[in-house]
């Protein structure tokens, strides 16, 4: 008997392929569109021979090595700090209620756009920023903002602060999620109790017994932030130095230069960026090996305590510092958005006005509708494709191939600067097409992996017996999908939708490049404003940037509550 097919089952079977094509084609085309110009092939400029002119130009650029070094060092150092602080927090608060509290606070911070976080941190640490104002003049003794270059310091310290505050919640949350898996949790808790009964101080016990089991689950998120931070745009653009900037920021400036000849150098730069990222990953791998070799003998040396109380107190201090940094950033943003005249050492504005809000609200409708249209369309597409692909997996009763699952995460693993420009170049070759379409497609590349990640667990956990019952009652696959499976998934679907929207809202580079500057969203406006004009207007935009995804998650939380109340 031929297998049962219908319109629905046929399309479901195509969906994993479609999903891969939608990711692979733009990323592949983008990489090709960077590779060809990098080797001198740029017909638009009458260049159609292959040569290494771009790489020579890149090498001869003043400060090229410092750019690469800045990218390399800020990425490695910030990740190292993030990992150390994460381990300290986990070790100090392991098995305590505080940890679940920390988890709840960190969740919302995770979805704050990088651009918004960078701007808020910039406000906080600037010479006339909130921290200086709180401690002046009574502690610092200054009446005028001191003349120091912060943010944008040449050593990239501000970048490191920004990356640490933004990536710490990610690593902590991913580790806590791993800890909550039943199997891991059981082993780790048993080992931890055992270590304590053998006389190990809990803090030392965590490092000697829990961490070796836990680290493999932290490794992938760590590599993800290494790759991301070595090539990120928003944080170095807003907090980093200008001359020279990080490599990724420099590449973006060359691409956007009116002089099209710089494109060849920029493409070569994108290839160099790939190597910097690979070098960062390799360095971390080497670092892991070194730590393991070094720690091997201290694991079994029998020492039960290493100044544990001091480390714990230090951890309390760091945790408090981070919490205050977050609270002060938010307070600073709100105060700036209402500030009239605000003379320097004062911690509170001299006058409060609402004109900034009125200004922004009168200009914002188009920006807001762009943000929402792109977000809603790309998230809806991503969710439908994801649900179909997961349904295909269940209908065919075999998991998606490893290649497919890996390809879905491709846009998160390859530095986006390395392929987005290629897509722009390809788009110019093809010509035509709506700008909106390209921006939505670009957002889809980054929304899809997160939507898939967030949806897959719940979908795969569905009790298959419900579908079997429905099928035995004569329901078609479509009815089973629509009336049996999806209703059971309503809560994860709403949450995933809110997550997809948040990811789309936060996209800077895809919007800027694929929109060709013609589509402004909240994020592109906020970044554009942050480079100068008005701290007050920027603050309003950043608050909107924070409020919009928060509203999404609030709705995702409220809607089921309202529906379920009606059911009772």
């Amino acid at each position: 008997m031929a297998p049962y097919t219908s319109f629905f089952t046929r399309w479901v079977n195509y969906s994993p392929t479609l999903l891969v094509v939608l990711i692979l084609v733009p990323v592949g085309a983008g990489l090709l569109g960077v590779l060809l110009p990098a080797f001198g092939w740029l017909p638009a400029l009458g260049e159609s021979t292959f040569n290494t002119r771009g790489f020579t130009a890149l090498w001869n650029t003043a400060g090229f090595m410092s750019m690469a070094l800045l990218s390399y060092a800020t990425s490695l150092i910030s990740t190292l700090i993030v990992v150390i602080i994460s381990c300290f927090i986990l070790a100090s608060y392991f098995n305590s209620k505080l940890l679940s509290y920390v988890q709840r606070v960190l969740g919302p911070i995770l979805v704050i756009p990088h651009a918004a976080a960078a701007i808020a941190i910039g406000f906080l640490i600037a010479p006339s920023g909130f921290v200086m104002r709180l401690f002046s003049p009574w502690l610092t003794g200054v009446e005028q903002p001191p003349d120091i270059l912060l943010p944008n310091d040449p050593f990239g310290l501000s970048i490191i602060i920004g990356l640490v505050l933004k990536e710490l919640p990610f690593i902590l949350l991913m580790t806590l999620a791993a800890l909550q898996q039943k199997e891991i949790n059981h082993t780790i808790n048993a080992h931890f109790s055992l270590a304590k009964s053998l006389g190990y101080h809990p803090f030392t016990g965590f490092f000697k017994v829990v961490l070796p089991t836990l680290y493999p689950f932290m490794r992938l998120p760590i590599y993800a932030i290494l790759a991301y931070s070595s090539a990120s745009i928003e944080i170095p653009l807003i907090l980093g130095p200008n001359a020279p900037p990080t490599l990724a920021v420099a590449i973006m400036q060359w691409f956007n230069d009116v002089d099209l000849n710089l494109r060849i150098k920029a493409s070569a730069g994108a290839i160099a960026q790939l190597f910097v990222t690979l070098l960062v990953l390799f360095s971390w791998w080497l670092f892991e090996k070194l730590v393991m070799a070094f720690a091997k003998s201290s694991l079994v040396n029998g020492r039960r305590v290493y100044a544990d109380r001091a480390w714990r107190i230090l951890t309390h201090c760091i945790t408090l510092l981070i919490i205050f940094a977050i609270i002060f950033s938010l307070m600073g943003l709100i105060l700036w958005s209402f500030a009239g005249y605000w003379s320097f050492p004062h911690a509170f504005p001299d006058t409060l006005v609402s004109t900034h809000w009125q200004n922004v609200l009168s200009q914002i409708p188009e920006t807001l509708s762009n943000t929402l249209i792109v977000g809603v369309v790309s998230t809806s597409l991503a969710l439908v494709l994801t649900l179909f692909a997961l349904e295909a997996e269940q209908q065919q009763q075999k998991p998606l191939s490893t290649a497919t699952s890996l390809l879905i995460y491709l846009p998160l693993l390859i530095p986006s600067i390395a392929f987005l420009f290629g897509i722009v170049w390809m788009k110019e070759q093809i010509g035509g097409g709506s700008v909106f379409l390209y921006v939505i497609m670009g957002h889809l590349l980054f929304v899809l992996p997160y939507v898939f990640l967030s949806m897959a667990t719940s979908f795969r956990k569905l009790d298959q017996r419900y579908a079997a019952v429905a099928a035995s009652l004569g329901c078609s696959p479509w009815r089973i999908f629509w009336q049996v499976k999806l209703p059971q998934l309503s809560i994860p679907m709403l949450f995933t939708y809110a997550l997809g929207l948040a990811i789309s809202f936060s996209q800077y580079l895809p919007t800027l490049l694929l929109g060709g500057g013609r589509i402004n969203t909240l994020t592109t406006e906020a970044v554009a404003l942050s480079s100068g004009s008005s701290r007050r207007l920027t603050a309003v935009y950043v608050i909107m940037q924070l409020a919009l995804p928060a509203l999404g998650f609030l709705l995702a939380w409220l809607i089921p509550k309202i529906i379920f109340r009606q059911r009772q």
Partner: protein, 220 residues
């Protein structure tokens, strides 16, 4: 009250789960003596061990004193009590070798001396030369013996046994039991054994406490 011999006293202990009394005991355990605690699941056997080791779940409340060799250790954090637990599962650390697992439990000190003691200990339980093996490559009985050595070379003052033989098959069970009990007597440790198995209880030749299910649970 101090006595020349090591002694663990559980003085007027009562444990509740919220308002329901779970158990109440008052016992002295002398050096080399094994107190056996039996009872159905839910009767509070494990909770008792957790209280003694200082790792009781905070949903329970306890009243009473724990005195070791004359020192009140009721409020001492678990890692300072020197009370080791031998669990049902061997719980060997997979990131350490057999020797590493044992060394982890030993006091720090001279490296060569520690190595020497580990190989002697392995020899004594028939595992000579297995220092650099990984836990996953051992049989269940071998793992159980390594777990025992790990606890003994920790040189605790008290040993708690949380159904340590229940996952072993019957012949192995008898062998391991004999090794464990012999070591407890030789090292003059006060010990508490929690078990389901009457044969375990008989083999200790010591006092046996039978815990009943708490009132509320048994009435329904």
């Amino acid at each position: 009250m101090t006595s020349p011999q090591a002694k663990l006293s559980i003085q007027q202990l009562s444990i509740w789960r919220q308002k329901t009394p779970l158990l109440a005991i008052d016992e002295d355990i002398a050096a080399g003596e094994i107190l056996t605690v039996m009872g159905p699941s839910g009767s509070g056997k494990s909770t008792l061990l957790n209280w003694v080791s200082g790792m009781m779940n905070p949903v329970f409340t306890a009243k009473g004193k724990l005195v070791l060799n004359g020192n009140d250790i009721t409020e001492l954090p678990s890692h300072l009590r020197q009370i080791a637990v031998l669990y049902q599962d061997p719980l060997l650390f997979n990131h350490l070798t057999v020797a590493g697992n044992i060394a982890f439990a030993m006091r720090s000190g001279n490296k060569e001396g520690r190595r020497q003691r580990i190989s002697e200990a392995l020899e004594s339980v028939g595992l000579g030369g297995m220092e650099s093996r990984w836990p996953n490559s051992l049989s269940g009985g071998q793992q159980a013996r390594v777990a025992l050595l790990r606890v003994l070379l920790n040189e605790p003052k008290v040993l708690l046994l949380d159904e340590p033989f229940s996952k072993l098959d019957s012949q192995l069970r008898q062998d391991i039991r004999e090794i464990v009990f012999a070591q407890i007597r030789e090292r003059k440790l006060p010990a508490i054994l929690v078990t389901h198995d009457q044969q375990d209880a008989n083999a200790t030749a010591g006092k046996v406490i039978n815990l009943a299910l708490p009132q509320e649970a048994s009435s329904c």
